[in-house]
Point group: C2
Chain length 134, copies 2
C-alpha cells in the first residue's frame, strides 16, 4: 500500500455520521460472523495492521476487535460494494477453536433463526462470555 | 408461521428511521451477494412470500428484488444477530446463470477489492446492465 495515498479512503461513501457498515466473513467456512461499523480511521488502521479495527457506536471510540477478548481477526481481503458504502472483510477469527466472534460466546452473531414465527437460538454457546471478558 | 403473532417483528431493534440492515448470502456458494435495508413491512413480506423484499432508501418505497430485473431471491433462512439489529438472509439468486445480484451485472455487489492501496474491480460483468433493466 502506498502510505501517502489515501484516495481509496476518500472513495468510500461515508454516511452522515462518518461511518460505513462492515460485514466480517470467515475465510474457509464462508460464515458471516458479525456486522459492525468503521469510521475512516478504523478502516485505515484495519488496512495498515491487517487486523479488524471497528468503531464502537456505543462506546464512541475505535475498537480493535479482540483487545479485551483475545478474539482478534486477521484480515485477508477488504472489499467495497457497488455503491461504495458497504465493506466486506474476509477474516480469520482467532482466540478459540471452533472460532468465536460473538460476545455471547457463539461462533457467529447471527445465531437467531426465524422458525414458525419465532426467533430460535440455532447455534450453541461455545464458551461462557464471563470467561471471555475479564 | 402464525399470521396473527408479530412478536418476532417487534423483537427487531429498528433504527431511528425504522430500518434494519440486511445481508444476503447465497446458499451453496456462501457468497455475500448484497447488502440492503428493510423496514417492518419489507421484513414481514419477505417472510410471508419467501422472496426478498427490501426497502429502497433512494426511492423511499418497498422494493421486491427482481421486480424490474427478473433477478428474484428465494429466501431459505432469516437470521437475526445478537443485538437484534442486523438481518442475514440465506438466498437463491434467480434470473441468470451464474447468478447476478448486482445492478452492475456482476455476481456480487462486493466486486471492488483493495489491492496496493487502490480499489480494483475483481470480478467480471456477466451481463450488460442495459439489457437487465428495460
Amino acid at each position: 500500500m502506498t502510505s501517502n495515498d489515501n484516495s481509496w479512503l476518500d472513495a468510500v461513501a461515508w454516511d452522515d455520521k462518518g461511518l460505513v457498515p462492515v460485514i466480517a466473513q470467515e475465510k474457509g467456512t464462508g460464515d458471516v460472523l458479525m456486522f459492525a461499523w468503521m469510521n475512516r480511521e478504523a478502516l485505515a488502521q484495519t488496512a495498515a495492521i491487517g487486523q479488524a479495527v471497528y468503531f464502537s457506536r456505543s462506546r464512541n471510540k475505535l475498537w480493535h476487535k479482540g483487545e479485551e477478548s483475545g478474539h482478534f481477526q486477521d484480515v485477508h481481503e477488504i472489499r467495497l460494494d457497488c455503491d461504495n458504502d458497504v465493506v466486506l472483510l474476509t477474516i480469520t477469527q482467532h482466540g478459540h477453536t471452533p472460532s468465536i466472534a460473538c460476545h455471547t460466546g457463539r461462533h457467529s452473531c447471527f445465531y437467531q433463526r426465524l422458525e414458525a414465527g419465532q426467533w430460535q437460538a440455532a447455534t450453541p454457546v461455545l464458551k461462557d462470555p464471563g470467561s471471555i471478558y475479564k
